[in-house]
Symmetry: C2
Subunit: 360 residues, 2 copies
């Protein structure tokens, strides 16, 4: 098959980790007789430096015309980088939010699971994680507080700010369907998270999720308040299969869940819409402090590339081949510094990329 | 001294845990020659059953005229209790929110710390919690998404809901001041948590916190994004002293922090305003499943009563006496079932109350 992949290397460790993912994709293309065309565009800090804005219309146009987008990471140190002196709509993150909205990527999938090989990095006691855990956070990505109208103005001599949290039936229904579809391919349990004892949007969320649930009689559905979910992720992560939630709650809970695994350098993510187009990126950030040192962990990005093959290109075998190769490399004892432990072999970012290619 | 305490026993385990706190308060009154007058009012489910509303105007009037309010817990099982068939504004939680707003209790203090005696209950690995941790979550309690205008309406044939997140300069300034005041009495560090890369309210929050910080040159202040904070609480809770944040983020993070301690049956909370009036309640919920069995842990409520003595009545010695008594009882090996571990002596809720009184 022939596919057009738009590549956004981004800021910080972005370029070095994306380079490893491309190495792996090239090896896959060769082995399975595919042709991947790559086209680089800029987003975030790199785009600000070049064009003065975090995302150009031209870049959006190119992304829209592609088969999938592979993203490293964007943004810098908010305390020291000049990008954060700009007004909010011109900062790196605004580019990412604009891309999500313009491409209509409403479904954000963030897997969080315990790697058997990396148990020692998990912050939770062993009795809690015994037997492992494996959840998929399904976060709504183009609605809610992120995209509601907002304003700061002076009222009676003092500044007052507001952000509007909005959800429509349609927005809730489409993400709920996605969540249940994914649960059907997993352990058939959906935990829908909201704050229905306070918010109108949450009450509508719960109602629509219950309606959608009727079409999936095999799936067990439960509703959990967001504060309780923040507790349960620490208390007993094994109880979760698919966590379905709105944009802001999903931002908080998915980061908490990823830290609970202890290895955020290993967690991928996919942002999808109704058709096959998607954007794929590691769950972690741009880590400006270690950028350019060839010590970052490229595995989350390589796993994101595998998700791209599976979700956007229907290349299940190829995706599986990458995942297996990563497992082999970990089993053989190779580790980047973030997941290093006693008795293992520490390797650089590019060496990790090479090892994964060798094990394909 | 003579003090008027309004008592809200509430629902579920509320009555039994409040009874233990009153036992302890009576013993303190006797020992230190104070007179505490108690007046019971209803709130939550109990008020719905009696008056059809979760909080009456009469009850608010009585609370407003008191020196302090001691609360057990309110609410029932949201899946089975008839209270949750009522419209949202008539459910138990609406009573609690109304009380907070009517009394103007804008500052919610939720301590979360690791009890040396209860380390085994902490879900985090020992290497992370070595030496213990001790933080104070300072949550804004009468603004934000909880009290903004909200509505659900039909637009073009589909339901659309919205909740408005609003903060004024004044609201932010008064909670920030409280946070810094408390930090001055602790380890002099404030971590202000927001989502300033997305929300206007968060950008105003950050600006005002920085302004207030200027009046506290001794206090170290840092800003952290809410998603990062959700990670850091699991990764390294020792880094925090005072966490200062808005209403919804505070709801989520304080529950996460309390679970990180492993003993939510031990965590108190205070809701304060500018003057001395405050409402004091355990951080945990009403646990309807174990109500009436005399097995609940009353310590969080007893510690809340101690906070009441300290913050509303300026009775520091008396508060300290209660805290010391609890520590003695734990050292002696007595545990309610929720914090039970091997080799310890399991006791009932009322027995725990008696033991604490004996050790005063
Ligand atoms: C960078 C930021 C705007 C973004 C978000 O909040 O969505 C990030 O935290 C994420 O989770 O992808
Ligand atoms: C009962 C509920 C409305 C309340 C809140 O969200 O504030 C509770 O979770 C709390 O934290 O006190």
């Amino acid at each position: 098959m022939e596919k057009n992949i738009v590549v956004i290397k981004g800021d910080g460790i972005g370029p070095e980790i994306v380079n490893q993912a491309i190495k792996v994709l090239d090896a896959i293309a060769c082995q399975y007789k595919h042709t991947f065309h790559y086209q680089n565009i800029l987003m975030g800090g790199a785009s600000i430096d070049e064009y003065g804005v975090p995302l150009t219309d031209e870049a959006i146009k190119i992304a829209k015309a592609s088969d999938a987008v592979l993203l490293g990471s964007i943004g810098g140190d908010t305390n020291t980088s000049p990008w954060y002196q700009l007004e909010p709509s011109l900062r790196p993150e605004a580019g990412l939010l604009k891309m999500r909205k313009e491409l209509g990527l409403f479904a954000n999938l963030r897997p969080a699971y315990l790697y058997d090989e990396l148990k020692s990095a998990c912050p939770l006691k062993e009795e809690i994680t015994e037997g492992g855990f494996d959840m998929m956070i399904m976060r709504e990505l183009t609605g809610g507080l992120y995209f509601g109208e907002r304003e700061t103005k002076e009222i009676d001599g003092q500044m007052v700010a507001h952000d509007n949290l909005v959800y429509s039936e349609k927005e809730i229904r489409r993400i709920a369907k996605r969540g249940f579809d994914i649960a059907m391919k997993r352990r058939k349990k959906v935990t829908s998270v909201d704050k229905a004892n306070v918010l109108d949007t949450s009450r509508l969320w719960r109602k629509i999720v219950n309606e959608v649930a009727k079409d999936y009689p095999e799936v067990e559905v439960e509703h959990m308040l967001v504060d309780n979910c923040a507790m349960q992720l620490v208390k007993d992560p094994r109880q979760f299969d698919v966590i379905l939630t709105e944009n802001m709650f999903g931002d908080i809970l998915s980061d908490e869940a990823s830290m609970v695994t202890g290895s955020i350098g290993m967690l991928s993510s996919a942002s999808l819409r109704e058709d096959k187009l998607g954007m794929y990126e590691p769950s972690h950030g741009s880590a400006p402090d270690i950028a350019g040192k060839d010590i970052a962990n490229p595995i989350a990005t390589i796993l994101s590339a595998a998700m791209m093959l599976r979700y956007s290109f229907d290349m299940d075998d190829e995706a599986k081949a990458i995942e297996d190769a990563i497992e082999k490399v970990l089993k053989a004892g190779y580790r980047t510094v973030d997941i290093m432990s006693e008795g293992k072999q520490q390797v650089t970012c590019s060496k990790m990329g090479d090892l994964i290619v060798e094990n394909l």
